[in-house]
Symmetry: C2
Subunit: 496 residues, 2 copies
């Protein structure tokens, strides 16, 4: 055979396959949360499952996360209920829809809202432990082993108008940050137990497809040699997003290049590209998550954000990622949080994410001068805010009254959150369009037989930077990873 | 043969072709400006050219335009020079780069800047006439047969910092609006003269490709019957954008759904989808042009735009499309232009585009109340603007001093530009990634042999709503349409 012409972006045709090195019912690319969940379900459904991971160990980008999963509905998970919350499935559904933004996937929101109680049980059955506890304060991630937290914009305008607020971030019982690694260790244990064959240090090179693009397997490079894996039921792409592929980011989501802290491991876009090579449609490619964890402590939420024209632009009680997304939308690099004696605190993660002090003063005019803002720009914004804050109102942005108080007590401080200085964290949300079953869809939304995707290689529940909530990615990866595992195993059985 | 399984999103394989109904060197889909320009050049290079058009006549969306083409550099076109402007090629290039935004295609900007003098001559040689005249006032489109106008943000911040401003919109000599139809009549005449065979009412159904996705031809449906056209050199997709395919807009550019006046004809996304079916990468799919032509008359530019929080958000002397793009970025639907006695005028196109009067008053406080804005929101914005405008300065948004004067003279007026009421016009800018030669690229930017695209089926010079200037689309369509015609004819000759 001559030099292979196939690649990530050009499928290997079945007639180009020199031999089958592996044979399986289901081949999975990527051993993060999506791949693990898919593997467990496919294997338990009786499929012979082969999992290829480019690294030397399981985990992927899921292991870098806090392990938080967004769950609710059906009256509430046991944790929500015992914290005194009732979470109606319809409120949960409506929140998921709002979080998904103008291109929310109704079918996926419906499926997850309806299936979440079962999913919670499934996660627990895998061995994941949740402490029966609730953290009232607004935080980013627990430093303890506590579970339930407000992890989105549930209580904030305009989300609070569309669905009854309820905390839905469920963090596994793991002391300190880094619950994602624990989550992945638990899932990986089940993958092995289910009899899945894992091949590490195997790079997905190309899909193997018929001339009509029906997917038959995958070419993986192991020790520099191309190996041909037949997948009777299908291939599931769970290879992450594309934040580490800077060229793809530039072409599809250039705004995210401004955020200097890409969060990923092997998120090189290969999952998306492999799917596209057989006609899979990539959607919402310009969307991404961006955050600067400017709180905790939550008293900082009493401050107000301004851009380099001294203007406010958001209700500061939104989820930190929503606030940060809006920071990036402002023209210019300069972003400040204005605080007074009653609201100032040192941000818990300020040193790590490079949030410094931009200016201080005994008057707001002094702060304005020190920041070299146009005369009256900052002071008129503060004056207008204070005027309404006297009555705990924020008619411009509708920050909830509990956070609204006039900024009157010196000393005054401007926290410096410059885009080109502070470490805004980012990952991509665009990916392959998929059905609820995980089947990859083409541009006319027809299924591509034999191809599935889950996690950030697909475009799932999280697809809108303005609406993201912590825990949506792992919710999406685990739940729809499972669906892809089930569907591909079923297809293998039917074709057997 | 059984029921065909090919479609826009799934290529017909060569071995599925029952017969060749047509044979040509180059097949072109779409008879707008891109298709016409490609056809002329391919035919003149000696290729046998077949042009398929879904409508019963030439024109496409190009014929709906004003016919304006963005040109400059090389010291200036004859029209620019005689109006007293010197347009350096590097200024032209830098402006094109800025207009393209964070994902500008440097190679295309370079090629067009360098090739524009020749392109001007080519257009004139086709029979297009330009009157040697310049319109000083800021307008949208000439109502006369005049030629040169300011058609972008050249003089406005921040574009004026990056390139020496020069007017570059060239409108053909045609009395009144509708120069696009005249342009298309001229080009269509040359297409016929060059011996191109045109097949009207022929719908492109599917590309014909080898199993390695090399493109060999196209399936077109004529009178309900699938016809198979072989293209020895290549197929050129010039089938427009996707603004009329509301499902595609929803999935890729949902923001554009807010603009209620989609501007297109057969822009059903088929060009993009056909390219994707063989692995072509679609980029910048979320970007689009949006405009509400709120001026002329230009005195309106002395007013200030506010959102529903009473805040300014743009320097109002930008191109109307840039201002309108920012209108859509504001939270909420309410957008107003604040004017006083010295700046108010009835917008020329106000009635057509549904720009009404939102409020009037003898004081700004009265206007604020009438608009039911939060107390102090509008008045503090006007006060801050006026304070600096007294010295003809706009330190917040850098509107050029010639447009800056305090809004002090009653009666005061708020023009109502509500997004959900006024007719914001929109079309898509995302499309197939192509090389300068028009060759379609896959996600790793490798050429797909035998496939070309131009015009809005591709992603060319116009690719950023914030940076668009009138005339960029036709510049892109005609210039890169020509390149695709030349490249495909050359390929046909090499393969002959």
């Amino acid at each position: 055979m001559s030099q292979p012409t196939y690649s990530r972006t050009r499928p290997c045709r079945v007639n180009e396959v020199p031999r089958w090195d592996f044979e399986a019912d289901v081949c999975i690319v990527g051993f993060g949360a999506a791949g693990a969940s898919a593997a467990i379900e496919a294997a338990r459904a009786g499929a012979k499952v082969l999992l290829f991971e480019v690294s030397a160990a399981h985990g992927g980008t899921s292991a870098l996360s806090g392990g938080e999963i967004y769950m609710g509905g059906h009256g509430g998970t046991p944790i929500q209920r015992s914290a005194g919350f009732h979470d109606d499935t319809e409120d949960f559904y409506r929140y998921l829809l709002m979080a998904g933004g103008p291109n929310a996937d109704q079918a996926k929101c419906r499926a997850y809202a309806d299936g979440c109680a079962e999913h919670y049980q499934w996660l627990v059955a895998q061995g994941l432990q949740y402490k029966n506890s609730f953290i009232k304060e607004r935080i980013v991630e627990p430093l303890t082993d506590d579970c339930l937290l407000w992890s989105g914009s549930e209580e904030a305008y305009p989300f609070n108008l569309g669905a009854k607020p309820c905390p839905r971030g469920h963090t596994p019982q793991w002391m300190g940050m880094g619950g994602g690694k624990y989550l992945m260790d638990v899932l990986a244990g089940q993958v092995i137990k289910a009899g899945v064959q894992v091949q590490y240090e195997a790079r997905a090179v190309s899909l193997i497809a018929e001339s009509d693009n029906q997917v038959r397997g995958i070419v993986v490079r192991i020790d520099g040699i191309d190996r041909y894996a037949r997948a009777r039921g299908g291939v599931i792409l769970c290879a992450g997003g594309f934040i580490m592929n800077r060229d793809m980011v530039k072409r599809h989501a250039p705004m995210l290049l401004r955020a200097q802290y890409p969060l990923g491991t092997v998120d090189d876009g290969s999952g998306v590209q492999l799917g596209q090579s057989v006609g899979g449609a990539a959607i919402n490619m310009s969307e991404g998550f961006v955050t600067l964890p400017w709180y905790p402590p939550e008293r900082l939420i009493r401050g107000i954000f301004i851009n380099e024209r001294g203007q406010r632009f958001i209700n500061e009680d939104c989820y930190h990622g929503r606030v940060s997304h809006h920071c990036l939308q402002q023209g210019g690099n300069r972003i400040y949080v204005l605080l007074d004696k009653n609201s100032y605190a040192e941000p818990d993660f300020g040193a790590h994410f490079k949030i410094g002090i931009g200016a201080t003063g005994e008057t707001w005019a002094e702060v304005e001068r020190e920041l070299d803002l146009p005369l009256g720009a900052l002071t008129s914004t503060v004056a207008l805010y204070n005027q309404h804050a006297e009555r705990s109102e924020d008619p411009l942005y509708h920050k909830a009254s509990k956070w609204v108080q006039p900024l009157l007590e010196p000393p005054f401080v401007a926290l410096d959150c410059r885009i080109d200085h502070a470490l805004y964290t980012t990952f991509t949300m665009g990916g392959l369009d998929t059905a609820v079953s995980g089947e990859v869809l083409d541009e006319s939304r027809r299924c591509l037989p034999g191809l599935y995707a889950a996690g950030r290689s697909s475009c799932g529940l999280p697809r809108w930077g303005e609406g993201y909530s912590s825990g949506l990615s792992l919710a999406d990866a685990t739940y729809f990873g499972r669906q892809a595992g089930i569907a591909s195993a079923r297809r293998a059985a039917q074709l057997r």
